[in-house]
Symmetry: C3
Subunit: 143 residues, 3 copies
């Protein structure tokens, strides 16, 4: 008799950003799933910041990501008159863009692989101009 | 002594869309929970696409959904000048509308039922004009 | 030999809102995790409504929250001409603001604590003018 016991594995990855933009982390997430040998379950990706966020996005066409990034520049402009501006013009827009996108995302794992669609990639969306080291926590639950 | 062992069940449903709009999937999700006989836990709903998305929405008033859909038509217009436009004017807006809504949603299951509020429905939000077959993955974790 | 058995705990909290704005619930969520003694896993926070939502936000600077709330007042104005307006001018904007933010959020639990970043707080985002009693469901899965 085989027993597949459910368990939890905590992993993490650090993303070194070089200013505003989207940074794909799909491969790093898959590597952590491989490492903890959970075949069936879910991974919860959680960004531990309020000035960057997560998004799923088309991963084949860089132009699609550029259009998406431009959309957010216009929707949440740096030039608006914000009350909270201690850290510069990109401070407050970074929080609003985070609120409009995602902090956590939960993705199925089937046969040890992220069950993504053909064109789906997982991206950290950096909203600050300066380089940052961003902490992304991964919680893998399954058997 | 009763042992309620935790387990994972993977299910899925296919949604045949007929163009832009919201398509309720609450009943299909509940049927898959019934099928796998997990009484207590969560279901993670994950859309395997980047040109449609998920949203929770008021499920009693169709006018509320029409207003919401019109809002997105105006916020992310097809007529903007996008760099990525290979697949027509609804291509790039579909990705941006997906980024502004959700790809995954995790909902509690209590006594075998989705623990939704009275007026909450789960909707696939189609952002393309043409009919599509959309794959929605369901991961049910619990006991 | 120690066995850490995975399990599910369902908890909930009620948030008494006094009109539009953000209400921090981080402490209540942590207290429920403490109560159910799950050391390692995830908590899924789920708002059982379609006219309020969840958001992560900077929890130190109230000005940042005010700017964020003003942004949504402008992005989804009460003065637009909505078809669905039975419950007043804040009715339809509340649904759209909910769609643009979040209904569920899943957060890691490590050593019994929410694994949040330094400045991250969990907020209920009330979109209606009148006071409401809002139900937030918490599902804690882990060992």
């Amino acid at each position: 008799m085989l027993i597949f016991a459910m368990r939890v594995a905590h992993e993490g990855c650090e993303v070194h950003t070089k200013g505003k933009g989207t940074y794909e982390i799909t491969r790093q997430v898959q590597e952590k799933i491989d490492k903890c040998r959970i075949d069936s379950g879910t991974v919860t990706i959680f960004v531990q910041h309020t000035s960057c966020s997560l998004t799923m996005m088309e991963n084949a066409a860089p132009a699609a990501r550029r259009d998406m990034e431009r959309f957010f520049e216009q929707l949440v402009p740096e030039t608006a008159n914000y009350e909270h501006d201690e850290e510069g013009p990109d401070d407050m827009p970074s929080h609003i863009r985070m609120v409009l996108t995602r902090t956590s995302e939960t993705i199925p794992i089937v046969d040890g692989k992220l069950q993504l669609g053909t064109w789906q990639g997982i991206f950290l969306f950096e909203h600050r101009r300066d380089p940052h080291r961003r902490k992304v926590s991964l919680t893998i639950i399954g058997e």
